[in-house]
């Protein structure tokens, strides 16, 4: 029965509205009795759902707004104010309806994510048959086929095929990532073009996608101090209003005034104002690949004035890349790269592997070349015979020991590259200097812009802490115009440094890659994990997780926290202001029951609409194009 009434609340509201209109029409036609009857019926039918809620709440020993309104309705009926009683009940129900619709909107960013959850998977059975199964039936170790336009159903690794995959659901990054054998794919992401077979590694609630959803849900529930205070306040405030209304009645003997007071003082906008801002703000973050774990963190994040960064993998990409191939004697670039890469295939060193990868990326066929007499000279380079050419690739020391003299032009070029932060590798073919390959761990393309934006938005000091050498650290610090850098630090020294900053009165956010920086991240006021989007450790230890490798997400999150907190303050201000003005108006006799209810419901809608602005809040320039100089890869 109760469920039935709740189910038809919208129809009840519409019917009550219609009856009120009919009542007024009858009234203007001069038939006052019929008007009253229509208004009384409207009051009765629309008050049923309100009474039910009020009674249910009393049973739970909770004072709810419904209770205040119920008392007011009964009072208004008692003194024969049928117009007011019907309008108040109608407005209350209608307001409730609008509230529900708009509240849904503030929750929509998360809902959209949840709706992206995959429902089924195509599993490859033994014997080559494929079978469509519900997502719950997929087990670890199953082989799954994904075709273009299909959703990746579970977390796993690619075992065959290649594809470009849109990972926006996880990372907020809408440019598709190309993936191939051995790459990890995530549940909820969408295969754009291509075809892959994967083996399931994490299923059900263990997938990154499921964890992200759970984290965001928990975050939206976790309340900030202001919210907790408001909750407590509302708990005392509501019964206090009832008492005050009685006091007003005892003093003035004016039941009408007492009832009006009761309705006007409802704490609606106050209770809902702060949480909606947080829900909308956290939802916005989630959709842009930033997980902010709760209202408290949002609040603290907005107060951060000092940023501390780890270098490798945070400010830089953490992956050395070939930044330049220079040839002397008009030699073909690819010819040189191919020979060196083939020779480097025997090397375990990451610089060597970087060269091999660069050649593979350019589609150079290394398999058809022949290599012999390979020798690794530890710390200096390699020597080998490739396709009948003798190849030497290495540093100055290796050239010296091989008695190959450096021409001035070559030396000059090398120094130039090194000054820009590269590691220069000299290439010798058949006893002659033939070229030079430069390798560097590049600064993230969006780093400069992201840091500049955050400075604009209130960051006063940016510090880099790194275990890397001073020379490299300096190159990064100079390129990014950092305020301070400290090199050659151990993890515990990083922790001490963060502590020092905190003790000297700064509110510190520390960003690192989540694993070796975990202690420093935990020490800072706000810990951010990035570069490892979606690993369990980073998701657990950090307060804020950046799901894609983007510093612009950091900047977005920082501004988002400021905007969210400002939005919340506006809402509290609106709510308190409206109640205060209304109360004064009531006591001065210029605000009446129906008009007061209207303003009251309107204020609730205003705070929700205000919070909804946060859903669409977006940094326009999430992607930057400015390229920066590079720094040497750690040898």
């Amino acid at each position: 029965m109760i469920g039935h009434i709740n189910h038809h609340k919208n129809q009840i509201t519409a019917l009550a509205g219609l009856l009120i209109v009919i009542g007024f029409v009858l009234g203007t036609l001069g038939n006052e009795n019929l008007q009253n009857i229509a208004l009384i019926i409207a009051t009765i039918i629309s008050s049923v759902p309100i009474f039910i809620k009020a009674i249910q709440a009393i049973r739970m020993k909770a004072f709810s707004i419904d209770l205040l309104v119920s008392i007011a309705i009964l009072g208004a009926l008692y003194i024969g104010e049928y117009t007011e009683s019907s309008v108040v009940t109608f407005l209350f129900l209608f307001g409730d309806y609008l509230e529900m619709r708009t509240l849904e909107k503030t929750r929509s960013s998360l809902r959209e994510l949840v709706d992206m959850a995959p429902q089924e998977a195509v599993v490859l059975r033994e014997g080559g048959n494929s079978e469509k199964v519900a997502i719950e039936k997929v087990e670890v170790g199953d082989r799954i086929i994904i075709r273009p336009g299909g959703k990746i159903p579970v977390d796993g690794s690619i075992i065959s095929g290649k594809a470009s995959i849109n990972e926006a659901t996880i990372t907020g990054e809408s440019i598709p990532a190309s993936k191939t054998v051995d790459d990890k794919v995530f549940s909820g992401t969408i295969l754009d073009t291509g075809y892959i077979e994967i083996v399931a590694e994490r299923v059900g609630d263990d997938t990154t996608f499921a964890k992200v959803i759970e984290l965001v849900e928990e975050a939206q529930e976790s309340k900030s101090k202001a919210e907790k205070f408001l909750d407590k306040f509302a708990g005392i405030y509501t019964p206090a209003v009832v008492v005050l209304a009685i006091v007003v009645y005892l003093f003035t003997q004016d039941l009408h005034l007492a009832i009006t007071f009761l309705v006007i003082a409802c704490p609606g906008a106050l209770v809902i104002g702060a949480p909606v801002s947080n829900v909308a703000g956290i939802g916005n973050g989630a959709r842009n690949g930033v997980l902010i774990k709760g209202g408290e963190i949002m609040d603290k994040f907005s107060k951060v004035d000092t940023l501390v960064f780890d270098k490798t993998g945070t400010l830089t990409k953490g992956k050395p890349e070939v930044t330049d191939i220079h040839t002397f004697n008009r030699l073909d670039e690819e010819f040189l790269l191919g020979l060196v890469a083939k020779a480097e295939m025997i090397s375990e060193h990451h610089l060597g592997q970087t060269i091999v990868k660069a050649a593979q990326n350019r589609g150079i066929d290394l398999a058809s070349m022949e290599q012999s007499d390979g020798e690794v000279i530890k710390g200096n380079g390699i020597k080998a015979q490739v396709n009948g050419h003798s190849i030497i690739a290495g540093n100055r020391k290796l050239l010296q020991s091989e008695k190959i003299s450096l021409v001035k032009a070559v030396e000059q070029y090398a120094v130039g590259r090194e000054k820009q932060g590269n590691t220069a590798i000299f290439i010798v073919i058949d006893g002659k200097i033939a070229g030079m390959i430069s390798i560097a761990d590049q600064i993230r393309e969006d780093a400069y812009k992201a840091l500049a934006q955050m400075r604009e938005n209130g960051i006063k000091k940016i510090v880099m802490l790194t275990g890397d050498n001073k020379h490299t650290a300096k190159a990064v610090a100079t390129a990014l115009e950092l305020d301070e850098f400290h090199a050659e630090l151990l993890p515990e020294q990083k922790v001490n440094y963060v502590k020092e900053l905190k003790n000297s009165g700064h509110t510190v956010a520390m960003a690192g890659d989540g694993v070796n920086d975990a202690p420093a991240i935990a020490t800072a006021d706000i810990g951010l994990a990035m570069g490892e989007g979606g690993t369990d450790i980073s998701m657990e230890t950090a307060d804020v997780v950046l799901m894609a490798d983007k510093l612009m997400q950091f900047s977005h999150a920082y501004l988002l926290s400021k905007v969210t907190i400002r939005n919340m303050k506006q809402n509290i201000f609106i709510a308190v202001g409206v109640v205060a003005i209304l109360l004064i108006g009531v006591l001065m006799g210029s605000v009446h029951l129906a008009s007061g209810m209207f303003i009251h419901e309107a204020s609730v809608l205003v705070v929700i609409l205000n919070a909804m602005r946060l859903i669409r809040f977006n940094h326009k320039n999430m992607h930057s194009s400015k390229r920066l100089e590079s720094v040497p890869a750690k040898a």
Binding site: I2, G3, N6, I52, K53, Q56, A57, M60, K61, A62, S64, I65, D66, D96, E99, M100, L103, E104, R107, L110, V114, D205, E217, E218, Q220, E221, D231, V271, I272, P275, V279
Partner: protein
């Protein structure tokens, strides 16, 4: 100990949280109850020898909150 998550229709009033939490906490066999207001979910942990997931679902429906889906683990 079993876990169950109930997806409800959108919750709108913060007082609903209290209503659901107090009622379920009083039910024998239910160990913990958490109402997620914004995602309209109820998370429970219960002893399956004393209470069944279906009973909990009935209680929620009786309180006036239709259950859209249940996930047990």
């Amino acid at each position: 100990m079993k876990k169950a998550v109930y997806q409800l229709e959108p919750l709108t009033c913060p007082s609903c949280i209290k209503k659901i939490e107090t009622t379920l906490t009083k039910t024998a066999g239910i160990d913990s109850v958490k109402v997620l207001f914004n995602s309209s979910k109820v998370k429970t942990e219960f002893d399956e020898s004393m209470v069944e997931s279906n009973n909990i679902q009935e209680t929620l429906q009786k309180l006036g909150y239709p259950v859209l889906s249940v996930k047990t683990s």
